[in-house]
Assembly symmetry: C2
Homo-oligomer: 213 residues x 2
Amino acid sequence: MKKTAKIPYAAIERLALYSRPLKVLLKTGVTVVSSEKLAEYCGVNPAQVRKDLAYFGEFGVRGVGYDVNDLLREIQSILATDREWTLCIIGVGNLGHAIVENDNFREMGYRFVAAFDKDQEKISKRLPCGLLIESVERLRDVVRLRNIQIGVITTPPDEAQRVTDLLVDAGIKGILNFSPTQVKAPKSCVVENVDFAVRFEHLAYHLSKVPLK
Amino acid sequence: MKKTAKIPYAAIERLALYSRPLKVLLKTGVTVVSSEKLAEYCGVNPAQVRKDLAYFGEFGVRGVGYDVNDLLREIQSILATDREWTLCIIGVGNLGHAIVENDNFREMGYRFVAAFDKDQEKISKRLPCGLLIESVERLRDVVRLRNIQIGVITTPPDEAQRVTDLLVDAGIKGILNFSPTQVKAPKSCVVENVDFAVRFEHLAYHLSKVPLK
DNA sequence: CCTACCATGTGCAAAATTTCACAATATTTT
DNA sequence: AAAATATTGTGAAATTTTGCACATGGTAGG
């Protein structure tokens, strides 16, 4: 595979998808898996699996398949989930809460080291996990002091852009925005907008074209 | 536009995206918007906006643009968010909590009319919104009795497939799965898998290729 | 009423992505 | 040791999606 090939955005997301069944296989003691099986688990085409992996190297053995353990490690290395990331969250509502407390994320090496809110009621309180809720005004300083790499936005939509600007100003290089607005940031800061109401709407769209009983 | 044209999956998701700034424009009293402006708000190409809309009809006026109010209604009608949907949630952890309580969803017409868990500690308690937490064993009956259309899965991944089977068995036609496993269901049931750890991993991937300071 | 202008809707070309199909290579069987 | 079988990696074809460019139709000003 050419090193210069451009990697499709979707291929990256599928890599993460592939890692899910691999973890299960590893736990259940299965050592080898074929692209066909892996594809089946993830609901994609086997050639797609092979091509996606081929963007990054040759991880399989012809005639045999992929070593589960090796492949999982390779994928985690590619996705950079084999290291710890320090994050902060802005907006400690129910969703923010759920994300910070999520065991799944913790296991993946995402460490929340700061939580911000603008509600005076919440500031100075602690989350169940022990994290102190601080004023957004402290954001800039805290981000620098604690060397925070990623900012997660779970504020209401009308605050999202303002918070983004604050994060950018503090020198953050990656933002995950869960509010239902597209936020904009300079190229130097990678933004991932995760509007999951979109998926509800997608589902509703499909259901509306189907007899509901 | 041909009626027979197949509509890209991504076009549907963008439709939902377009609705976000439209709501804001409506509130701020702006009555007309061009594909160029709308595209700018959503970070896409203007031709894309026009083409996406053209899949469903002619909503604009040449030389003028789109009427904000009309377009929003059209999109909501297409996405079937102009009606109420009855949903249930299975797995009342932090995430389940956050989704059920989310004002944004409520405003969109998504009504949660049942919440299930298998934890005896939680069963018979009430959520802050007043919803009673019931045993998963009641799922089949409750789904039928309350005419539930959509099931939202927020259980740990190892429960997800079992819950899916229960939902399918109860006759549910749409599932939104927030657990980090792909669940499978017969064609008669539309499944939307929303694994948002994927977006974290995507962000990590990008950040790992960028000098972090 | 005519001219200038503007922004949509869309045919078509380009780009991106997916899938096929098969050569390459490893393992197992005879 | 050859044949049969399995499964990867990948060039090329097929398909899908995007974006350009412009004809079309509507508005506004003179």
